[in-house]
Subunit: 149 residues, 2 copies
DNA sequence: TAAGATTGAAGACTCAATCTTC
DNA sequence: GAAGATTGAGTCTTCAATCTTA
């Protein structure tokens, strides 16, 4: 029972994910962005000119609404996003990305692309596609947010 | 560029890993164990009666020596592990698992097995083997600790 | 020089709770 | 009741630095 700990999926997934996140945060540090903030900007960049609520951004980033609330607060202070009450839902706040936000997003994504390339070098193109396919399956079964491919 | 954020390997890996860790911590809470502590007990259980240093345990658990130091402190207080100076290296402290530690480890691993089963249901046996194979490849290329199969 | 242990400070995250609006 | 936003408390983690020993 104890012998197979290192073969367990959650363990292996955590080891790889933690190492990737570590590298990613290193590339992101010069831009003053963390994972939640980059994910928020990226989602807003895709949806632009539409807006998303903080709760939705949190779900798509895999963090709680509380974490995303703090992340958005920082983005607001720096003028990377703006926010306005949703006319139909009094409590909901629509978050929009600004031109400054788009510019920083482009820079940050270019910088983080190296992490993808470096990590994926170990896998062939077929393997990469197969890995993505299985991760999508897992995300689906766990009811996580899954963007359309 | 922004469009494929949701398809990036670090993002997908983080989403799945975070969800799995979340479930795992939920199962672990009744035992008063976190990831670092369970990983330490599991590694020590495999190596018993040999000992491991805190630094080694940290590397194998995917956390820093500082995190593992705190984790071990808690395990020591609860009598789940004991520690003694390594006779050959004055600064190194050998950590051993106790009978109490082994008993709790067995209980905790039984409880967390449900997370594995539940998450892997979405994948066939072949897919599971293939996923493990690719994760091992990634761990190897990133020079992470990889137990022998 | 290098490796191990540890402390203090800071960041990121969750849980719990509250408030507001539909 | 359900969904969204936010605050406060607590946990887990890393970064930076220090001390010790081979």
């Amino acid at each position: 029972v104890a012998e197979d700990f290192g073969q367990r999926l959650p363990y292996m997934m955590r080891m790889v994910s933690a190492a990737l996140s570590q590298q990613l945060e290193g590339e992101l540090r010069p831009f003053g962005l963390n994972h939640a903030q980059l994910a928020a900007l990226a989602q807003l960049g895709v949806e632009d000119p539409d807006a998303l609520s903080g709760a939705t951004l949190g779900r798509r980033a895999g963090v709680t609404a509380q974490s995303m609330s703090a992340a958005i607060g920082s983005l607001l202070d720096r003028g990377l996003v703006v926010r306005a009450p949703n006319p139909d839902h009094g409590r909901r706040l629509d978050v929009h990305i600004t031109d400054e936000g788009k510019a920083l997003l482009a820079e940050a994504q270019a910088a983080t692309a190296v992490v993808d390339e470096r990590s994926l070098m170990a896998l062939s193109a077929d393997e990469q596609a197969e890995l993505r396919r299985m991760l999508r399956k897992l995300m689906e079964s766990m009811r996580l947010y899954l963007p359309k491919h």
